[in-house]
Symmetry: D2
Subunit: 91 residues, 4 copies
């Protein structure tokens, strides 16, 4: 999880907002709302998921590659894993 | 909402799966899981949101542009709204 | 290709703009420009590719599902192929 | 541009492949190919642009945050700019 408490809190706020959006979507579907309105809500969920990805990736880079006295070797080991994530994110 | 009950059911199943993924993400964050694991879970949520968008858009096109005896004018009126959605989806 | 000449022209303009952006990117790389500037140019190419996808998909839906006196069966046959495209676009 | 010659070469290969794909798309449009074939080619261009973004971002992180003896402050200054890029990439 994010190292700084304020980063963790920001991520938690984003995750809860997405949960609220998904719950609203479920209610809209059960309540028979028009498809066009639901399609807009789904686009908002996707946008929020992208925003969460970006913020979490930034925090992860900051925690693992930027902060602290580290050697190039230590950062290189972290980078291998980060490379996998970036490739999964950009496809 | 989708016109056919089986379409509605498929969408509901997808929405509930996403809700489960987001709830698991919230627990992972509160439980102090490593960022790299959470980043993978977030990628899965985004992928599921994309899948939901695609299926819902397909159902909407089928319900509004394909099914039933409609005139080009009626379909054209629906298409104006669909155009807005597609532009929101592909950006 | 798009049925209406004005649609074809709009798509051609977009494709040529993307070609210009990609050529500029190649020159930037060969000229030793900073990575951060190149990363912004790449984001612009991806954005332009998304815009092209959206416009082309809209034209295709208009040409195949909206225009003309067609039966639900004819439109259903077109829709099968369109469904494949949408799933490829939203992943 | 990428610091290592082999990284630069890999990026150049990707950029040239995209240029070839866009030129083929232009010919397809001028040659009157079916929209469905063109829509698949456009999806391939977008996929290639995403792949290029991912590889370039990875190289940039390696060059600026991983390699060399740097201080947390130096890496933090680089990170500010990288944060902007990531937000542009994930939206």
């Amino acid at each position: 999880m994010p190292h700084l408490p304020e980063d963790k809190k920001r991520i938690l706020t984003r995750v809860r907002r997405i949960r609220g959006q998904v719950e609203a979507l479920e209610r809209a579907l059960e309540g028979g709302e028009p498809c066009s309105a639901m399609l807009q809500q789904i686009a908002a969920v996707r946008g929020a998921a992208n925003g969460l990805m970006g913020e979490m990736l930034e925090i992860h880079l900051k925690d693992e590659l930027v902060s602290g006295d580290t050697t190039p070797e230590q950062r290189g080991a972290q980078m291998a894993e980060i490379g996998h994530l970036i490739r999964a994110y950009l496809k």
